[in-house]
Structures are given as C-alpha cells and as structure tokens.
C-alpha cells in the first residue's frame, strides 16, 4: 500500500491562514501523531486529509493517485471524531455496519462484519445496545470499530481520547496502538497531549501556528528538538539566555559548552535548553574543572513525586528545575541551601533567541 503525501497543502479561512503550505508524508502502516496546542491547525489538516475541508492550495496523494478533489464520501477514510459522533437512533451494531448499509450489503453480511469488529474492540455481545447505554470508553471503541468497518486505506482520529478520564485514556492509548499495529493500517491521530503522542506514534508532527515545526520519531523529537517551541511543548526544559562566545555560550560569568559546538557567529544572542532530568545537581563547591558547565544556584523548592524528586533552583540566569531519580538523590536538599546546577554538553540544545529556527 502506498504512502499518503501532502504537497504544499494550505488552508485559508478568509484572510487568515490556518495551515501554511505543508509537505508531509505519512508512511504506510505507521501511526503518525499531529501534535500541537489548540489552534495550531492540526485538526484542519486532518479534515483536509479526510476530505471534509477543501484545501486552499496544494495536493493530497495516495501514492501517485491525486485525491485532492475527491469528496469525503468517495475517499472513505475511516474517521473517529472527538465527540465520537455515534448515531443515537441506531443500535451499536447498526452504527458499526453503517458504511456497509450505505453500500447495500446484505443484512447477514453487515451483522457478521459488525460482530467481528465488536470482538476486535472487545465489545462482543454489545451489538443490540443503544448508544446511550454505553460508557465513554465503550463509545470510543464503537467509534473505532465503525470507522474500521469499511476497511479504509487511511484511519484518522481527531482527539480520540479527549472525552475520556485520565486512567481510561492511558488504557485506550495502549489498546489503540496495539490494534493499529495488528491491523497495520496507516493512521493519523490529532492530539494536543504530548504524552499521548509519545505513547502511540511511530512518528510525530509537531505543529505550531499552522506550520509543521518538526517531524520525526518520538525519541528524536524529545531529545533533539529543532526549535525552542518543540523543546518547550514536548516535555519540560530549562531555558537560559546567553551569548555565543567561541562556540560556547556565555551566561554571565559562566561559559557553557555544548556538544557539538553551537554553530553561531560570536556575540549571537541564543537560548540554551536542557531537560530537567538531564540537568545535574551538585554541591556548591563543585565548581572545579569537572563540575564546570553550570551555574551556582540556590534551592527554593523541593518536592517528591514518587519516582523522581523535583528541585527548583534560582540562578543568576533565572529559575532552573532539576529532576533526580533513584540513587541520584544523594544530597540532603532543603530550601535556602546553596548548590550548583550543571548542564551536560551533550544534553544541551541551542536556539537563536529572537527567531525560532533550527540550531
């Protein structure tokens, strides 16, 4: 089966550009998450792929087949909506077999397919129930089964977990991912929850202001964010402003080295980012050669989150958070104590301070 390709796909609503010219490839059999804050254009992008929104410019292709102008009811990509959009006037089985009924499939065939899908989503025996009798999680499974009934080329999900409570959401993320892997269907999920995207996706498209900021596997997105926005949106990060000085970053009296060297000309204003779990905490006198690449700090707040301990510190360049796990919690920490925060060179990302662009 071929990939789904977007070529310079753009969407304007009046004078407002909601999705800027976007080139993306969704590989066959992979689950891609469109991740971003509200209003970043991810749902509009998904709706254009589904055929529910006409693009202002650009093309959508499956392999070499151009489907840009193919209406949604001919395109027939299975879609799960945020509200699930189940038909309340039909029982669960009729909801699932809706696409088959539209095709005029015989009743026995519709029933068999619906029951098969109900078993797939672990709802066997629920076929005769009314939609109103189902819980949130069950509704979501029915919505998934319904979208899969027509064996779509592409499976689209618009914030499918947002109507579920936190515990159920976690369960369904794993369940959906396992189902997708079993069926091997090209899947695109819209979400604003980075944890959800990290749990489920083979590939994440981080979107901001109608643009795809970064595309890549979750590990890469997390550890090698290309823009400050991505570093900020995915997980937590300490941001410290500085100026380039001979391939390192000058932050007040300290010189922070990075690996590889920051490729900026001298005196460029930059921001360094370092994840809290990568940031190291040392004693106040650890400012020797091995303990360099950091800033003296004062502990202002400590909280224990079970698996990790979170330490908030004040430095001359602003607040810094350090997360320490397991054996790393050697120091007895108390607010007011002096300490030293160290940013390991290999854990640092450097971004230009004014323009959000690749480091």
């Amino acid at each position: 089966m071929p990939d789904v390709t977007l070529q310079a796909l753009r969407k304007d609503f009046g004078s407002i550009t909601v999705v800027e010219a976007t080139d993306l490839t969704f590989r066959h059999g992979e689950l891609t998450a469109l991740l971003g804050p509200s209003g970043c254009g991810k749902t509009t992008l998904l709706r254009m792929i589904a055929g529910l929104e006409a693009p202002s410019a650009g093309r959508i292709r499956i392999g070499t087949r151009d489907i840009t102008d193919t209406p949604a009811h001919v395109r027939r990509f299975g879609m799960v909506f945020q509200s699930f959009a189940l038909f309340p006037h039909m029982c669960v089985r009729d909801n699932i077999a809706y696409s088959l009924a539209i095709d005029g499939a015989p009743k026995a065939q519709r029933r068999a397919r619906a029951d098969e899908l109900l078993d797939l989503v672990r709802l066997g025996g629920y076929g005769a129930r009314r939609v109103g009798e189902l819980s949130g999680g069950q509704r979501q499974r029915v919505a998934i089964a319904r979208a899969l009934a027509q064996s779509p080329e592409v499976f689209l999900l618009d914030e499918p977990m947002s109507a579920l409570d936190a515990k159920l959401r976690e369960e369904m993320q794993v369940e959906l991912r396992m189902l997708q892997q079993r069926l091997g269907i090209t899947t695109i999920v819209v979400t604003h929850d980075q944890r959800e995207a990290m749990t489920m996706a083979d590939s994440i498209v981080v979107m901001s202001k109608g643009r795809a900021e970064q595309v890549g596997p979750p590990h890469e997105i997390y550890h090698r964010p290309r823009t400050r926005f991505v570093a900020d949106f995915i997980g937590k990060a300490n941001f410290i402003d500085g100026v380039i000085e001979g391939g390192a970053v000058r932050v007040g009296p300290a010189l922070i080295r990075t690996t590889p060297h920051a490729a900026f000309i001298d005196r460029s204003p930059v921001t360094i980012a370092c994840r809290p779990e990568a940031t190291e905490l040392g004693a106040a006198d650890a400012n020797g050669p091995s303990g360099a690449n950091g800033l003296p700090a004062e502990i202002v707040f400590v909280r224990d989150l079970g698996p990790v301990q979170e330490v908030h510190l004040r430095t001359s360049a602003g607040m810094v958070t350090v997360e320490q796990a397991g054996s790393a919690r050697s120091m007895a920490l108390a607010p007011g104590e002096r300490a030293f925060v160290r940013f390991p060179p290999e854990a640092i990302r450097v971004f230009p301070r004014t323009v959000e662009a690749a480091a």
């Binding site: 589904a50 055929g51 529910l52 209406p71 949604a72 009811h73 001919v74 395109r75 027939r76 990509f77 299975g78 879609m79 909506f81 945020q82 509200s83 959009a85 038909f87 309340p88 006037h89 809706y98 696409s99 009924a101 539209i102 095709d103 319904r146 979208a147 009934a149 027509q150 689209l156």
Partner: protein, 323 residues
C-alpha cells in the same frame, strides 16, 4: 452541612413555596378564566336552541349535532353537507401542513449550515414575516394569481400559455382545474388554496424545525460522509431520523393551525369546497345568526383536532416503545 443549616434551608424553601403558592393559584385562575370558561360557553351554546328571526335561548338539545352529521331534515332526507366541509378542512390542512414542512425542511436545514450571523439574520427575517396578517398575505397572493395582472397574465404575455396549448399540456391543466378554455387560471382552485395556506405557515414550519435541526452534531453528518454517504444518503439516514419527532410535531401543529384558516379559503377555495372554519363563521356572524349551530360545528372541529393530536401522541408512544 450541619443540622441547623439544613433546617434553615428547609425553612427558607418552605417560605419560598408559601410565597409562590398564591401566584400559582392566580395563574391557574387566569388560565381557567381565559381558556376554559369561553370553551365551556361554546359547549353550552352548542346545545342551545335557535329562535327564528332572533338570537338563541338556553336548552339542552342535540339538534345542532344531529344537523351536523345527517342534516336538518333528517330522517325525511339525509345530508352530509357539514361532514363534507369537515372533510375539506382536513384535506386542505393536511396537504398544506405536509407541503409546508417538505419545503421548510431543506430550507431550515440549509439555514443551520450557515454561519451564526447568517442564521440570526434569517431567523429575524422569518420572525418579522410572522407579523404579516392572513388578510395581507391572501391579498398579496390574490394579486399574484389574478387572471388579468398576475401569473396567468405573465404566462400569456411571455407565450408560455401558447406553448402549453401547442404541446398539449394545457388540456392537462384544464383537467386539473387550473385553466379555463382560453387561459391558465389559478384563482378558485385547490392549488391556489394550498399554496396560500402553505405560505401562511411556512415561517412557523421553519422556526419549529430549526431547533431540532440546529441541535444535530455536525460531526454526525461528517461521520456519515466519511463512511460513504452522499448528501442525500446523509439526509435520509442521519438527519431525518434525528429530527423525526420535531418533524412529526411540526406537521401536527401546522395541521391544527390550518384547520382554522378562514380568509385563504373564502378567497381561493372552490365554493363547493368551503371548510368548517368558514361555515362556523357564516353560522355565527352570517345571515342566519345561528350561534348554537356554529358552536356545535366549532366543538366538533375542536374535538377532531384534539382527536388527531391524541392519536398522534399515542402513535408516537407506540413507535418509541422498545420492541
């Protein structure tokens, strides 16, 4: 909440209820006075006796009801004149109500697909059109359909009438009562009557259908589309079933309203097809001044409407009962 607080709340609620109670009684009294008392009067008068050349007197006599069903001269002769009028009341009201809903449904559906602002503007326009009186609307259609200056004239002058004659469609129109030997003729026809009645209730139909249609989750329509349903299939399989109850209710309400239409019938309906509403008015206010017989007809019309409403509610309950 402590026990003291709970008691205080109970006392406050009790006080509120005691304050509200006289208002409830007053409201009930007003409703009884304005609705029930006139209706009781009509029922009582319907059993009254007409004094020839004068008004009427109190009595308890079923003559007026007998006259309605079998005629005044029964058993010497039998006449179903008023049953026939009742039939035309039902005939015009049912057809006009259904046509109005059929036309209003796509219109209201399209309104719900518009932007919020456009929807508001349409609703304001429709609400303001309700201010037009029946007399004004009928006058308008009277001119539009008149033989000399209305649509027949337009068809004649543009050559459509001649074309209809040449193609042989004119004879069909004549057979339908929509043409005289020379020209297309709309006035005094079922067509004109139903058209005007439909026009009268069209804004009501849209306004009654609008809430149900606007409550439909747009993602349901989109979900149907992603599952292969074209626009018509979406309406048939998703939209119509979701608004079946409001649709049914709207037809019923318009039907009951249309049973009482007077001006449109007197102007456009064939004299042989006058309805009970016209007959009631003629009896009460016309040459005979026969209030008791007019009241009897009104009571029967009201009971018929009530019967239809009751039967419909019963049917709805039966339909909604789980199998």
């Amino acid at each position: 909440m402590t026990a003291i607080e709970a008691r205080a709340l109970d006392a406050a609620a009790e006080h509120g209820a005691s304050v509200r109670r006289p208002f409830a009684w007053l409201f009930a009294a007003i409703v009884i006075f304005l609705c029930l008392v006139p209706f009781l009067f009509v029922i009582v008068i319907s059993f009254g006796e007409k004094i020839e050349g004068a008004a009427w007197r109190w009595a308890f006599d079923a003559t007026n009801y007998r006259r309605f069903f079998v005629g005044a001269d029964w058993p010497a002769t039998i006449s179903f004149l008023y049953l026939q009028k009742m039939w035309y009341s039902l005939y015009f009201a049912v057809i006009a109500a259904i046509v109005a809903v059929l036309v209003a449904f796509p219109f209201a559906y399209l309104i719900t697909r518009q932007s919020r602002q456009a929807q508001t503007l349409w609703l304001i326009f429709l609400l303001s059109s309700l201010a037009l009186s029946e007399v004004f609307i009928v006058m308008g259609w009277d001119i539009l359909l008149s033989n000399r200056s209305g649509l027949p004239m337009v068809l004649r002058e543009t050559g459509v009438t001649d074309w209809l004659k040449a193609e042989g469609y004119f004879d069909t129109l004549r057979a339908w009562g929509l043409a005289n030997p020379r020209d297309v003729r709309f006035k005094t026809s079922d067509f004109a009557t139903i058209l005007t009645m439909t026009y009268l209730v069209f804004p009501y139909a849209v306004i009654l259908l609008y809430p149900g249609l606007s409550r439909i989750d747009p993602s349901m329509v989109e979900a149907a589309r992603t599952m292969g349903a074209g626009p018509l299939a979406v309406v048939r399989t998703v939209v119509l079933p979701l608004v079946a109850a409001p649709l049914f209710g709207t037809v019923l309400l318009l039907f009951v309203y249309l049973l009482g239409v007077y001006v449109a019938i007197t102007v456009f309906a064939d004299p042989a097809k006058q309805t009970l509403a016209v007959s009631v008015y003629d009896s009460v206010r016309g040459a005979t001044l026969d209030a008791p017989f007019g009241s009897a007809q009104a009571v029967i019309l009201l009971l018929t409407a009530g019967g239809f409403l009751g039967a419909s509610l019963w049917l709805k309950q039966v339909a909604e009962r789980p199998a």
